[in-house]
Amino acid sequence: MMTTYDILVAHPFLAGLPPGHVERLSRWARPAPFRAGTRIFEENGRAKRFWLIREGCVHLDIRVPGRGDAVIETIGPGTVLGWSWMFPPYRWHFGAVAVDQVLSIAVDGAGVRALCDADPDLGYELTKRFMAVVVERMQATRIRLLDLYKAPA
């Protein structure tokens, strides 16, 4: 049976992280499965943790008056869900719901912040990895802003 440490080591988001760092992170991590349709967090709720998605997909959504929950992006396996735990006021900007059966590892935000404060090497490494995710998603959003598939005027 795989331990939480084993799962963290195998996750692409943490690939190459020194074993000591992974071991410290694993103390704040636990398996977190979600059934299809489960709401993982609500917009403006307290951002207490992040999730490393192993299997399944998660929709990020936002409540739009008159339209219900509008899906804005899908987070797939091998990536990370949630970064609002890193910055005050620690509130989710969007909601998240499991599209299908999701297997993930939940990692405690306050615990990881304390780890990062105590170990700047780990903090820098995690910050770089989260930054890469943020940049990738920002660039994807910019491409979508171009509305490339729209018929030429």
Binding site: R67, E73, A140, I143, D147, L148, K150
Partner: protein
């Protein structure tokens, strides 16, 4: 005859694909043109209106299929052509997809919007010769779920052993699939980058990002093929309207390797 003068073809069937896109099946009235290879294009002439380059999106019982989006006077006239209408056709033109790919290779098809049309023959090739490739993935991006091309065929593609993934930029309430740009589907690939051949078609900016992403995964640039679009007119490399640097895309393309096309696509003057 076939390249300079339009051959007469009759519309034998017309199928609406999306709100602004149709697929025309056409049959020869006189001697048929040579068979179009996947990725090659025809110049379709709406008599009295104009001529536009349109890729072959497959072959039906009677002849080639062309999937056309109504974006201007000529393409609009073609989209309105009913069965029985007469069209002029010149071709086949250009360099198509590099098929078959190397035996044992992984094949990745990346389509954005109408870009799936010239890639459908690649999909059909992969279905017909499935054992030739290790893994075959088809990644499809569209503006909305209603803009997905050929959705009724995806199940057959999957049944033939292809991994088919779709994503949309803007979800509707009913859409339960992926939302985001097509490159976000790369995480689903279970390919060996060095042994991967990729065929990419869609809006040019989408292709730039798609190709860059594939190269970032380790796919050699020379194994990433793009179908480029410029202002094709003569189809023979004479008029120069479709020039992209040293390339005349009607003759040297439309399918060009990213190793050759990549540096050209970021030159503003081109």
């Amino acid at each position: 005859m076939s390249t300079m003068t339009a051959a007469r073809y009759r519309v034998s069937d017309r199928r609406r694909e999306t709100g602004d896109t149709v697929t025309l099946a056409i049959e020869p009235v006189d001697e048929p043109l040579p068979v179009f290879r996947p990725g090659q294009f025809a110049m379709l002439y709406a008599f009295g209106v104009g001529e536009v380059p349109i890729s072959v999106s497959g072959y039906g019982e009677d002849g080639p299929l062309h999937t056309i989006r109504a974006v201007g006077a000529t393409s609009g006239a073609l989209c309105r052509a009913e069965p029985g209408a007469m069209l002029g056709v010149r071709g086949p033109f250009g360099r198509g997809w590099e098929l078959p790919g190397p035996a044992g290779a992984d094949l990745v098809v990346v389509a954005g919007g109408l870009g799936l049309a010239p890639l459908r023959p690649v999909v059909r090739h992969a279905m017909a010769d499935r054992d030739r490739y290790r893994r075959v993935a088809v990644l499809i991006g569209a503006r909305t779920p209603d803009d997905l091309l050929y959705p009724g065929e995806y199940q057959d593609w999957r049944a033939a052993g292809l991994d088919v993934y779709t994503t949309v930029d803007r979800a509707t309430a009913e859409w339960g699939g992926h939302v985001g740009v097509v490159t976000e589907l790369y995480g689903r690939l279970e390919h060996r980058p060095a042994d991967t051949v990729a065929c990419v078609c869609g809006p040019e900016i989408m292709m730039r990002f798609a190709a860059r992403g594939l190269v970032g995964l380790g796919v050699p640039a020379g194994q990433v093929w793009l179908s480029l679009e410029r202002n094709m007119h003569c189809g023979l490399g004479h008029c120069g309207h479709c020039q992209l640097g040293p390339l005349l895309l009607c003759r040297d393309g439309p399918v060009v390797g990213y190793d050759e096309a990549g540096p050209l696509l970021t030159v503003k003057e081109l």
